[in-house]
Amino acid sequence: MLNNRKVRLMTRLAMYEQTEGKEDVRLSKYFRSDYVRLNVLKTVVAITLGYLLVMVLLVVYHSEYLIREAVTLDYEGIILRYVGIYIIILSIYCGVGMIGYMIKYRASRKKLAKYFRMLRRLRILYREEGEPTEAEEESIGYDRGNT
């Protein structure tokens, strides 16, 4: 026999599982600190690569000047300056990224918690359907009291 309530609940669960749930489940495999660290690491790699490319463009752009003044250039000062800029940019990105990814992780956890609440309701429906034994009846009451 079809149980409409069950079908609706399962539909909702399946819809979640097949759309944003995928991402949430993937996230839930990480600890929060691991997830944030991994993503900040990715950001560090991307920023480093991007900065290097900018450096390449800059060097080519100023190549005439660089070649002309190659002997008299203050290399130490230049390197210090650009490494400094790099560190500043990197720390801004890492800081913002850390907060952003933490928020994202928390939001995903919340959605997942809702999903599990629905799952629990489904389990209760299953128990109601099958003629419950005494022990199961007890646990249904217990579950209900909790939800």
């Binding site: 079809l2 409409n4 069950k6 079908v7 609706r8 399962m10 539909t11 909702r12 669960l13 399946a14 819809m15 097949q18 759309t19 991307a46 920023i47 690569l49 991007g50 490319l53 900018v54 390449v56 463009l57 080519v60 752009y61 190549s63 005439e64």
Partner: protein, 349 residues
């Protein structure tokens, strides 16, 4: 009049819903074709890529792959065109794109396709659609992909104008060309200005949208359009950015109309986003089609077809008295007229 429009809307929605499996790829194909056509028209240098069969083939590829592939294809095609005109500029553009991705574009999230849509709509003279629609549906963070799109558009403008001059260039002039292009990109007032105005539009619309009042979305679009026209006018007079004011005003009005139509059908988009899910339990295998409700935020799910052990249960076998209104509607027996009064199929806890 309004009733007729609403009826038309309902008809279109029903049509889209019924033929979603066909309509979706067709729409994707048209979008992909427009993308490649526009690119070829704007910076077409490689004649092989411009032939119709190649265009159709690329569009077909874009139809059956995720959106990110279309973006990638568009980027590759554009680079190929630039490469034919001037290899050195193509390398420069590729590097700039990589920098853009590393620093900004990788944070655009699910709105990544805006990066592609913005330059295309610029070429179609209605770029204002982007902020007007993003202001309607998204948060101000979407300025990230929008800004990337603007930068890419301006970059290609500068590069393709330089590429024409490049064809007669000797090797030693490459550095001069490169410096010239970079100078023009950095000094591009229009680019900064466009990004700033777009950001103000999105922000203003977002703030207006949060106000609780009637017709808030329509008002929000109007506010966005006004901000757009005023913003560009002020920018033009104060910063002497040499904008084409007339085409800007017409473009904004056109974009506003598009945004209004989009708003009118927005829930239609929800409606056509029919969810088909399949799952099973111990006794049954379920094929469920869930339709989000047209005018209400609470989604309506109508159970269309459920089969037992892969045997379809025909609608005749279901006792009509047992069906709810939604289910009867799903079976095509109920008219759509009074659906607004329907109770939500789901009650949130």
């Amino acid at each position: 009049m309004i009733v007729a429009i609403l009826e038309l809307r309902a008809h279109i929605l029903r049509f889209l819903q019924r033929f979603q499996l066909v309509v979706e790829p067709v729409v994707k194909f048209i979008i992909a074709f427009v993308v490649f056509r526009t690119i070829n028209n704007a910076i077409g240098h490689e004649t092989m890529l411009m032939s119709l069969p190649i265009e159709l083939l690329l569009s077909l590829l874009g139809t059956f792959t995720p959106a990110v592939i279309l973006i990638l294809l568009a980027a590759v095609v554009s680079l190929a065109h630039i490469y034919v005109a001037s290899p050195i500029l193509a390398i420069l553009v590729a590097i700039l794109m990589a920098i853009l991705y590393c620093f900004i574009a990788r944070f655009s999230g699910k709105y990544g396709y805006v990066v592609l849509a913005t330059p295309i709509l610029f070429l179609l003279k209605i770029p204002y659609v982007i902020p007007l629609i993003l202001g309607l549906v998204a948060n101000p963070m979407t300025i990230i992909p929008t800004a990337c799109g603007v930068v890419i558009y301006r970059m290609f403008q500068v590069v393709s104008s330089a590429a024409v001059a490049d064809s007669t260039l000797a090797m030693e002039d490459i550095l001069t060309l490169y410096i010239d292009v970079i100078d023009r990109l950095i000094a591009d007032k229009q680019m900064i200005l466009t990004i700033a105005v777009f950001f103000i539009i999105i922000l203003a619309m977002y703030l207006v949208r949060k106000i609780s009042m009637e017709y808030v979305f329509e008002v929000s679009i109007a506010v966005g359009a006004i901000v757009c026209i005023l913003g560009f006018l002020v920018a033009d007079t104060v910063l002497h950015a040499e904008l084409d004011i007339i085409s800007m005003v017409f473009g904004t009005v056109g974009s506003m109309l598009i945004a209004l139509v989009f708003q009118f059908f927005r829930l239609a988009l929800d409606y056509t986003a029919v969810e088909r899910v399949q799952f099973e339990d111990d006794d049954y295998y379920y094929y469920v089609k869930a339709v989000p409700k047209i005018n209400l935020a609470v989604p309506e799910r109508s159970v269309k077809k459920i089969s037992e052990n892969d045997e379809t249960v025909f609608s005749d076998e279901i006792d009509d008295a047992e069906l709810s209104e939604e289910e009867r509607y799903a079976l095509g027996e109920e008219s759509v007229e009074d659906e607004e009064e329907d109770e939500p199929f789901f009650h949130n806890q």
